[in-house]
């Protein structure tokens, strides 16, 4: 028996496909998420909207919260560590979380290097804004990718931008003649072997979720139609007026993303969505997506 293999790391992400991963900050939230049909939860001390409001340095959550959530639900539990903070990651692995999100939502601990994720038995998910960034993270050992979007804004525009950039990048590589792939890899700053693989098979070697600004069932279905394998919803659920109803509706919209009748039906009577932010009103230093490279 062999544990921590690439197959079981990427395999868990494959099992999450077509599903919704929800940010939760306590046991009560986690149970609402599981009851609504979430395929996993992200255990946090604060949702991104509150991290944004609080300012200062955002770090890994208190393990007490993570453990309480792990005990409360039977679905996979993810937790976030800071970019480059491999000791937070080691601690999360020791706790037994099912996936680690090396996340730009927390304050980076290293501005030059992300975690060398191959050293861990627990799989990692990382954010990206384009294909080159996705492939750098996969090269370091990320077994799942998500768009960065702009977390805690309730505004899907950045997630759309990032998903389109990734999908355009894949389509472009598939069309690029083999002899031009090395130059492409150089230009993208991406590992050549993965560039070559994408050229051959026309898709990413790992699962790719949408994240960062999803607030409504239609947002979730939009990301799915743009090519996401599934959806993370951070502040969008528990910063809305009726979290249980919204959570269920987003789960249904993610499954039935190609069925406009279902999207229309589940969008009814959900109450207020989370308050949104226009990205253009944020100062450059307030943008989370530009953390990491």
């Amino acid at each position: 028996m062999e544990t921590g293999t690439w197959k079981v790391k990427t395999g868990l992400a494959q099992m999450l496909k077509g599903g919704v991963i929800m940010d939760v900050v306590n046991v009560e939230h986690a149970k609402i998420a599981e009851e609504a049909g979430a395929c996993a939860v992200m255990a946090l001390e604060r949702v991104p909207a509150d991290i944004r409001a609080a300012g200062g340095v955002a770090r890994m959550a208190d393990p007490t919260i993570i453990e309480a959530i792990m005990k409360a639900v039977s679905i996979p539990v993810m937790a976030k560590c800071r970019i480059g903070h491999f000791v937070e990651a080691q601690a999360l692995e020791a706790l037994g979380v099912d996936y680690i999100d090396e996340s730009e939502v927390l304050t980076p601990a290293d501005e030059n290097h992300h975690i060398w994720k191959h050293d861990f038995k627990v799989p990692f998910v990382c954010g990206c804004r384009n294909l080159g960034e996705a492939l750098r993270r996969i090269g370091e050992g990320a077994a799942m990718i998500r768009t960065k979007g702009e977390a805690g804004t309730g505004n899907v525009v950045e997630a759309v931008r990032h998903m389109r950039a990734v999908m355009d990048g894949i389509r472009e590589l598939a069309q690029t003649p083999e002899e031009e792939l090395m130059a492409k890899a150089k230009e993208m700053g991406a590992p050549f072997e993965i560039v070559l693989e994408i050229h051959k098979v026309g898709k990413l070697p790992v699962v790719n979720f949408a994240a960062g600004g999803v607030a409504t069932p239609a947002d979730a279905a939009l990301m799915m139609q743009l090519g996401a394998d599934g959806v993370f919803v951070g502040s969008g659920i528990f910063k809305s007026s009726n979290p249980a109803a919204r959570a269920q509706a987003i789960v249904k919209a993610t499954t039935h993303y190609q069925d406009p009748k279902v999207i229309a039906e589940v969008s009814k009577n959900l109450g207020e969505a989370m308050p949104g932010k226009d990205i253009r009103e944020l100062k450059p230093e307030e943008l989370l997506a530009s953390r990491g490279w």
Binding site: V8, L12, M15, G18, C39, Y99
Partner: protein
Amino acid sequence: MKIGVLASQGAFREHIEKLRQLGVEAMPVRMPEELKGLDGLIIPGGESTSIGRLMRDYKLTQAIRNMVKKGMPVFGTCAGMILLARESTDASFESLGLMDITVRRNAFGRQRESFETELNVPVLGKKPFPGVFIRAPLIEQVDGNVEVLARLADGTIVAAREDKMLALAFHPELTDDLRFHQYFLRLLSEKE
């Protein structure tokens, strides 16, 4: 021949690809109407709580139960096996309850305990089958006409068949080995 793959949530695309590699028409199923005219159904891996709730909310649970009781062959992997089982030790959702097996969810632990191992599966021949176990369940007990198809080295039951129902605790859809899908297709053509 047309096989449906339940597409509420999980790794349904991988099963569809395997079936297409075997030259079989395969289609995703998200609504009860899509079950019409199917010769068999695969319930994939994913999160059993999530799949179970979506099945219930879109009235698939009873529709699938009726068709399987009328003889439609069904094949469940991991979460699919949990949904097929008559009993699950910690399930908080309504399963299909079709197979005479008792299963335990997340039986090996959390993700860091997920593993790969080679399985001896006599009905598939001598060559071992690559077993990919991800937060996998196990079969605690089999009753009635259930035939055990594979065990781990310590005796744990991880694959079983009852009539035209097939249940695996692991993920053949994540490997290049098509033998379990071929075995399922043979169940379809077997006479009563």
